[in-house]
Symmetry: C2
Subunit: 359 residues, 2 copies
DNA sequence: ACGCCCGATGTGAGCGTTAACACTGGCCGC
DNA sequence: GCGGCCAGTGTTAACGCTCACATCGGGCGT
């Protein structure tokens, strides 16, 4: 095996019969194309960049030469001189939550359409240090802008510390910072959910909330509290979860044990899923006995038992909007101090119904 | 020594001793660091690349200057001259399936540890053309290698057409190609699931399979058929799904209508989730009346109703292994003709039990 | 017909880095 | 004591591209 290596190597480097080089064939560069087309390298460059003043005939000759040589512009050389890498950075949290994943794809798609590449830097935890490290990695690659999907308070701090001369957009991070942000109207979404339950006739709406250091969880909590505790009503104490089905299950068990509970708003679908199971185990039929509303509208939501009423987030739209916001900054060179909030949308399925006791 | 800095300075910008020039301040380059440290730019380069022959004292001076100027090496310039971009490409399918998402993160993490960046190119559909386009986009960025997570037959064809001088690894694409592959032992995993059901005493094990143009679906189908139809047994006809909960639900309804059905193996957890709901609706308790096994072990699996017995895939491991395989190629410059199969693992929960009729 | 301007093209100079080689001294061996 | 070597450093030339400017015909106004 070890003795084989040199041979294989020699094969690669073996003298090419047809021409000069003893090295492996270098891929064609602009000069090669120019030579073949009988023009100067600069004309090739012009063709490449759609410069207007190139005769159609010349352009065709050049294009043809490019095709013949399978020419690929060297992006490093171009970046070196133009100081534009045509690359955007994406900081993502290592999670299998559907939101981040689908935003990633929609961002990449939108970036591609805008002529940009996207490079990723993931972080395992959302502490300030890790996020800053990830951003630095991206900066080392000379990205022209960064979208950060790091929806935790500590990460927001990190973003605030990023030098202002670099384009940056945060997604789902609340508003407590001067970094441009894109996010869902979580408070409004929560109200949608709670009002739906209230409209059905429920007296008290319980809540299983997400981690308190996630701005989105807090916003949903606030929205719930505002409506569930309005007028003469008093909002019950919120149960805390961590977005996981497990935590929803545990909170659900507590809720199931209380016969007075008739309505639950969960801060995300995964927790709702767990709650649904806890309720089923406790012999409390949904929606007959207890109504449940989730948040996110994961693809499985329509197929849970029962199909889940939930607040839909348009992750694709979130991704696209964040890219737009970033491109504005890249275009103007300055930070856009603007926050974008997308409107949520309630999807009513079968996990909600009027309370049994009344009407 | 030249008379102070005037000459060099005048070249860079008009007088202005120290204040802001009309232009934005250019970020420091190697030459600036060299000047400040009183050495040549080459010495700075040596420090940067840990070249041994630099006096410790000199190195410290240089390092200090770098820090003072917040110097960041220009990666484009480095790439231009070394012909190494330190970047890997990832072709991913726009899906929210957990598998791809978690592999993405594990690949990025492993790449980072190996000193590489990762750039992504997503495809909306897995036809040959789209995949080839995505690969070309990556090639335009001069990536040093590509990992493709495009688990569909047509995509496999596309990979086979990629020039052999570019490092490439496919994930979850079966074996029908000469491209190095990493994947789970799907056939073995299916056998694990079916044997588990058989061992419990079930006579016939039904199957809801994934799309037939996905190699992984076929492998699972083959594994099921081999065991479920062994000996005197005859395997039932497989119902076809498309990985979605919806398709699982529909197949589940058909199965639920047949009282003789006692055991179902679903090609993934999402379809199992749908099947679970269909069974529940039809009043066929799981596992009392029907046993169900899934595949993947999604995070929600333990919280379904009932908790799902399933075949676990180690997505993180898959990602890491594919990176290793790619790095081997990048290291040696040749394709590694080697396929890696990871062993699956059965996780028994509460969706499986012996059939009611016997024992 | 003359100068002018403009469309079409070529020339030269960088962009910031690494590679290859040249140049210092000081220390070694004999 | 002198050639040689080696650690430590500087000098110069790429790398492949774009930008600014130079060049060169020819149509056009007067």
């Amino acid at each position: 095996m070890v003795a084989q290596r040199p041979i294989a190597d020699r094969e690669r480097a073996a003298a090419a019969p047809d021409a000069e080089r003893s090295e492996a064939r270098r891929s064609a560069v602009m000069m090669d194309v120019a030579r073949l087309a009988g023009v100067s390298h600069q004309t090739v460059s012009r063709v490449l960049n759609d410069h207007p003043s190139v005769r159609a005939q010349t352009r065709d000759r050049v294009l043809d030469a490019m095709r013949q040589l399978d020419y690929r512009p060297n992006s490093a050389a171009r970046t070196l001189v133009t100081r534009k890498s045509q690359t955007l950075g994406l900081v993502g949290y290592e999670t299998t939550l559907v939101g981040p994943a689908s935003m990633l794809y929609s961002i990449e798609g939108a970036a591609r359409r805008a002529g940009y590449f996207v490079s990723i830097a993931s972080v395992q935890s959302l502490d300030t240090r890790s996020v800053l490290d990830a951003i630095n990695r991206l900066r080392d690659q000379a990205v022209e802008g960064i979208i950060a999907i790091v929806p935790q308070e500590s990460a927001v701090e990190a973003l605030a510390r990023v030098p202002h001369d670099i384009a940056l957009v945060g997604v789902g991070l609340g508003e407590a910072s001067d970094v441009p942000m894109v996010g869902l109207d979580n408070t409004g979404g929560a109200k949608l959910a709670v009002n739906h339950l209230l409209d059905l006739g429920h007296e008290r709406v319980h809540h299983i909330c997400g981690p308190r250091d996630w701005p989105e969880a807090n916003e949903r909590l606030a929205g719930w509290r505002e409506v569930a505790g309005a007028g003469t009503r008093r909002a019950p104490v919120a149960l805390s979860g961590d977005w996981s089905a497990r935590s929803g299950y545990e909170a659900g068990r507590k809720l199931a044990a209380d016969r007075k509970v008739t309505a639950v708003f969960c801060a995300n679908d995964h927790m709702a899923l767990g709650a649904l199971r806890a309720l089923a185990e406790a012999g409390r039929p949904v929606p007959g006995d207890v109504s449940v509303v989730g948040f996110d509208d994961i693809p499985e939501a329509p197929y849970l038992i029962p199909p889940l009423t939930t607040v839909q987030q348009d992750f694709g739209g979130l991704g696209r909007r964040s890219l737009e916001l970033l491109m504005e900054q890249v275009g103007t060179g300055g930070r856009t101090h603007r926050n974008v909030r997308l409107a949520p949308h309630l999807v009513v399925r079968n996990s909600t119904a009027p309370p049994r006791s009344r009407s």
